[in-house]
Symmetry: C2
DNA sequence: CTGAAAGCGCTTACAG
DNA sequence: CTGAAAGCGCTTACAG
């Protein structure tokens, strides 16, 4: 089953292989490979014949076969849940920026369910489909951590922390505290919280922000009330529904801290449709500072989303370049951005 | 160089291969492969031994090697430029939805420059890294069209049209006309247009919308003015700058039609900072109806972004399932959504 | 029911 | 400077 001598002999529909080129040029495949990879030490006349054959057959090497042979793909993969979320998008944008100018291409893989997460790691945990991984807002299952380490796949975590990998994150407890303190300082006492549902992928920052919220309340001498703490996904209608419940409570909160801007926006809409004025009757503070936040004047705790992606990408690039990176956790700064959705607590 | 008999013999760091499992279980690799792929006709006791060896070695087959051998990846790739743009994100969200429940995983690949576009197709045009392609808001170069067809890679276009592939699109000329007519009907005569820069990736809908704009003007007896037609990218500051120029014209337009909501938002910000009231002194209409549009009350021409992704994914799935799909262009409906950024032209 | 061998399409020592 | 061969890690006829 040797390569056939001419292009015409290849069945239509299947691209030429390196053997076809070799046959047409009258050389061995090794020589074609050398020309392809720009190795020195190929006689110019030979090279010319090979180049000619490549063009005649419209040949392009199989990147898959190359990857298998080279054990290198020049691709970086980003694995993240809900990757169409505004904050996730912003991080991805940072990753794209961080990778710009490098030789690596970016592949983004969505993890929407545990099933997809499993499949994602099946695809990537050997480092065959991508040379490095950027895992965003989720933690690999422990078994995958082992595989990744065993296979030596460079991996950087963004918005998640694990002792085995370097990571870029923020202090979520401090963030929750910061947001809540802002409300307390405005005189609010009845402060509700809308958090994310329990971690689906071992992803726990919502819990940390809740802890910060409780801490701030306690140190202000306010007793946390369980009926003021709700959970819901970031789907617009869910966020609205959760906020509506909160706003229909007999003792309605005068302020809401939402664990994300997306949820804060839902709370604002809920208030709007209930005829509750913001910030006169209700203050709302979010988390993230996504692009629309500035646009609609949402008060929020800003975390450097873009920067997190950029830094994560840079860190991964370092590792890929062979510079060993400590599995340290780099904390990015948080900043309170007071805009127009928070104000003094109503009298009474 | 036969597989070594025990796991311990494998160098740490390299995952077990099928040969290691076979050796440990005392069977041939073919048998391991059969067990792995759930083929019938393996004696239960043999199967048990294999399963045991798999677990002992924590073995997971190389998906890359599988792909090479099977010529199938169970992955669908989406190639799109500026994939963090709100409208692109929305389409991707639709694609994710359309793929949900299927056996295919989604990989997203960003095309930000011609260089990346070339690399994207190098990776995907043989159908080795993905079984099917969803090309969004860009057109493959003609040479790639040939390769894709030659290799028989199923490919669906979204927001782009090519005779060789089925596609999901909208009638952009009609859309441009619809937007402009809305302004004309409100009494505007000085109507400006902010379009995208010339197509970077043979991507021409902005031109079509401009054509619709001109057509609407002409049929209203309004002479198109070249100083009213500007181009700029969707980067926020660019959109603002372009709008500012327009609004500083001696004969300032009373209405702006932006080729995208993102640009419309930029125009609104520019007006704001120039102290121009909307819609009293300036009407602004966008295109797309991205999520924030409703939120900020932007009048726009709605195109079914989510639906385009969903339909594209479904179409691709059909093709992948072997049901031949005509290379037809499916046009999705456009709808004018009048909100609060457009109003009657100011007297005089 | 099972294994040896060929094949997927490359790259790269190794030997000339 | 160049080619035959082994290897990357799988799958699958083919022959028992």
């Amino acid at each position: 089953m040797e390569p056939l001598p001419t292009a015409a002999a290849r069945p239509t529909g299947s691209p030429a292989r390196i053997g076809d080129v070799a046959a047409l040029a009258g050389v061995g495949v090794a020589t074609v490979s050398r020309v392809l990879n720009g190795h020195v030490g190929v006689r110019p006349s030979t090279r010319d014949r090979v180049v000619e054959a490549i063009e005649a057959l419209n040949y392009r090497p199989s990147s898959l076969a190359r990857s298998l042979s080279l054990r290198r793909t020049m691709v970086v993969a980003t694995l993240l849940p809900w990757f169409t979320n505004p904050s996730a998008v912003q991080r991805v944008r940072g990753i794209v920026e961080g990778l710009t100018g490098s030789a690596y291409d970016l592949m983004v893989f969505d993890i929407e369910s545990e099933d997809r997460q499993r499949r994602a790691f099946e695809l990537f945990d050997r480092g065959e489909r991508a040379d490095g991984l950027l895992v965003v807002s989720t933690l690999p299952p422990e078994a995958e951590v082992d595989r990744l380490r065993a296979a030596g796949v460079p991996c950087v975590l963004i918005d998640a922390v694990h002792p085995s990998f370097p990571s870029i994150a923020v202090d979520d407890v401090a963030g929750g505290e910061m947001a809540t303190r802002h409300l307390v300082e405005l005189g609010h006492r009845r402060i509700a919280l809308i958090g994310d549902p329990p971690p689906e992928f071992r992803f726990e920052w919502s819990r940390d922000r809740t802890r910060g919220y409780e801490r701030a309340l306690t140190s202000a001498g306010i007793e946390p009330r369980s009926d003021y703490v709700r959970e819901g996904t970031r789907l617009p209608h869910v966020a609205r529904a959760v906020a509506s419940e909160l706003l229909s409570l007999p003792e309605r909160p005068t302020a809401i801290f939402a664990a994300s801007d997306t949820q804060a926006l839902g709370a604002i809409e809920a208030a709007r449709s209930l005829g509750i004025r913001i910030p006169a009757e209700l203050s709302v503070i979010g988390f993230d500072d996504i692009e629309v936040a500035a646009y609609v004047g949402l008060t929020t705790v800003r975390q450097p989303l873009l920067e997190s992606g950029r830094r994560g990408a840079k860190l991964l690039l370092e590792t890929l370049a062979g510079r060993p990176v400590e599995p340290l956790c780099e904390l990015l700064p948080l900043e309170l951005v007071a805009r127009s959705t928070t104000g003094p607590a109503p009298d009474r």
